[in-house]
Symmetry: C2
Subunit: 326 residues, 2 copies
C-alpha cells in the first residue's frame, strides 16, 4: 500500500489538521469541523457527518451557504453520538438544527441517538438514500446515500442561510433527496489505511456495477467497456428508477483516484444520454466530490430541478470544496 499518510491510526486527525491549516474559515475540535465564526442567531443549523474517506464530503462542505458543522468519523466508520451532540449544540442559533444523514445503519443509529440525547435544541433529520443500485447492502437497510448528499447539503444550506424555519429547511432537504438518483461504477477497489490491501478483488478486465462508496458490492461484475457503455448502464439505471425529464442538475463524480479528464469523458456521454431522453442538463458538477479513498471509478447523480431548487443551487456558497459567488 502506498499512501501519503503518517500512520494508519492518525490519518483522520492529520488530515483535519491540514484542513485547519489551509482554511482559516474553519474551526476544528474533537473531529468536528465548524464554521470559524460560530452560529448565526435565528439561522437553522445544518449538521452532517459520517465515516471519513469520502472527502471533500462532508468536512469540505462546511461554510456559508452549506453546512454549519461536519462530524468526521474514523475511516468508513460512523461518528459516535457524542461529537454529533457537540456539533448540534455548537451550531444552534436558536432556530433548531437539521441532521443530514446518509442511509447507513451506523450513521442512522448514531444520529438518532444524538438527536434523542441532545437537550434544548429542536432537531429534525433527513435521510439521504439516492443510490438506485441495490435495495439493501452490506451496511444498509434500504438504499444507500451517496452523491445526492451534496445536493441536499447545498440546497438546504442555501435555504437555511435565507432564514427559513426548520420545517421548511427539512422539507426542501427531503424533496431534494426524493428528486435525486445515483449509480456508481468501480474500476478498482479502494484500500483502507488500516487494512493496507484492497477491500475487494476486481480482475484487471472487469468493473463493478452499482458499487457502494465503501466498496460494498453492487449489482454485477461485467467486462471493462468503453466510457459510453458504462455511462449508459449508469444512466439507464437512474432513468428506469425515475424518468429523466425537464431541467436536471447532474453530477459526474470521481471516486477519488480517477483523473478529471476521464470524468469529462463520462460527462459527455451522460449529457448525450440525457439529450436523447428529451431532458436538459441545466446545472452540473464534474469532479471528485463524494469519494471512496483511492478508488478509481465514477458515480452519476441526477436531481430533477424546478425554479425554486435552481435558485437555491445558484445561491452563493463559500466552503473549501464548493465555492461560488453571486
Amino acid at each position: 500500500m502506498k499512501k501519503l499518510i503518517n500512520t494508519a491510526e492518525s490519518v483522520v486527525e492529520d488530515a483535519l489538521n491540514g484542513m485547519a491549516a489551509a482554511h482559516p474559515s474553519l474551526r476544528i475540535r474533537d473531529h468536528v469541523v465548524y464554521r470559524a465564526q460560530g452560529p448565526r442567531r435565528g439561522k437553522v443549523g445544518l449538521v452532517s457527518g459520517g465515516g471519513s474517506g469520502h472527502e471533500p464530503l462532508h468536512v469540505g462542505f462546511v461554510g456559508h451557504g452549506m453546512l454549519d458543522a461536519a462530524c468526521a468519523g474514523e475511516i468508513f466508520t460512523s461518528p459516535v453520538p457524542d461529537p454529533i451532540i457537540e456539533a448540534t449544540l455548537g451550531v444552534d442559533g436558536g432556530a433548531g438544527v437539521l441532521h443530514i444523514v446518509k442511509n447507513y445503519t451506523g450513521d442512522v443509529l448514531n444520529f438518532e441517538m444524538a438527536a434523542e440525547l441532545v437537550e434544548g435544541v429542536e432537531v429534525a433529520s433527513v435521510l439521504v438514500d439516492d443510490d438506485v443500485a441495490v435495495q439493501d447492502s452490506l451496511y444498509t437497510a434500504g438504499r444507500r446515500g451517496t452523491g445526492a448528499t451534496l445536493f441536499v447539503e447545498k440546497i438546504a444550506g442555501a435555504l437555511a442561510e435565507e432564514g427559513a424555519p426548520l420545517a421548511r429547511v427539512a422539507a426542501v432537504a427531503q424533496e431534494v433527496d426524493e428528486r435525486s438518483r445515483s449509480f456508481g461504477i468501480a474500476l478498482t477497489s479502494c484500500t483502507t489505511p488500516s487494512a493496507g490491501k484492497p477491500t475487494f478483488d476486481l480482475p484487471e478486465t472487469e468493473v463493478e456495477l452499482g458499487i457502494g462508496i465503501h466498496g460494498e458490492p453492487g449489482r454485477a461484475r461485467v467486462p471493462l467497456a468503453p466510457a459510453r457503455e458504462l455511462a449508459e448502464v449508469a444512466m439507464e439505471a437512474v432513468h428506469r428508477d425515475q424518468p429523466l425529464r425537464g431541467d436536471l442538475l447532474v453530477m459526474v463524480n470521481g471516486m477519488g483516484g480517477t483523473p478529471l479528464m476521464e470524468l469529462y469523458v463520462v460527462f459527455a456521454e451522460v449529457a448525450a444520454f440525457i439529450k436523447g431522453k428529451g431532458a436538459r442538463v441545466t446545472r452540473s458538477l464534474v469532479g471528485n466530490y463524494v469519494t471512496s479513498l483511492d478508488m478509481q471509478g465514477f458515480s452519476v447523480s441526477v436531481c430533477l430541478l424546478d425554479d425554486a431548487l435552481t435558485r437555491l443551487w445558484d445561491a452563493p456558497v463559500e466552503t473549501p470544496a464548493l465555492r461560488w459567488g453571486r
Copy 2:
C-alpha cells in the same frame, strides 16, 4: 489498463466535448477552449496550453479573471503552432496577447513559432520554470514548468482583467514565476491511454523524488516514508533554492490519482515546516490542479507574496476549476 475512455485516440476530443457540455461559459473549437463571450475590447488576452493529461490545467482555467484561451495538445504532446495562432487571434481585444508557456522544449518551440507567424497582434511570452528538482530533463532545457503555472495564470489574469497594458501583465507573470518554486514526489507512475501500461516502473516500496508531470525522472528513488518525511524532502528542496520568508501562497497539488484526504495530510506537514522557518501561509490551495493523468503523488508549490500579488490572487475568478467571488 483501466480507464474511463472510449478509445485512446479520441480521449482528448471526448473530454473537451464533456467540458463543452458541462460549461456553457466556454466555447471549444479545434481543441482550443475559449471564453464563450469572446474577447473584451482593450483587455490583454491570455493564452496558454500544452499537452493534455494535466487537467484541470490549462483548459479548466479559462474564464473571467484567468485565461482567455487554452490550447489542448494530445496527451503529453505540445499543441502545434496553428491552434496557438488561432487562439491568439481569437482572444485579441486590441491590447495584445500574453502567451504563458511551461518550459518544455515542444511547448517553447511551438509557442515561439506561433508568436512569430501571427500577424497583427502584439504578443509577449512568459516561460514558467518553477520546478527545482532537476536542471535539465527528458523534455526540457533548464527547469520544468509545473505548479506555478496556475499562480502565473491566476495573477496575470487578474491584472489583465483590470485593464493593465501588455507589458505590465507580462511583467507580473514573470515576477510570479521568479518568486515561485515547486517540487513533486510520485508514489506511482502514470499510464498514458495510448501506451496502455505504466510509463515507468516504480517498486511497491519506493517513491520517486522530483518527478516531472509527464513521469520524467527526478532526483532519486528512496523508500516510501511517512508523509511528514516526504513533505520535508519537498520543502527542503524548495527552501534551499529560495528561502521561505514572509507571506506565502502554498499549493499542495495532487498528481491526479491521489485523494484529497492524503493531500490535506501533506498540507499539515508543509504548513508546520513553513512555520518552523518563520514564514507564514497566508493563501493556499489543496487539490488536484496540475496533474499527470492517474499518477499518485503530490507536488508542492510556493510563491513569495507581497500585498500587490495577494490582492491579485484574491481577485474574483470564474473558471471551471478555480472559482471565487469577491
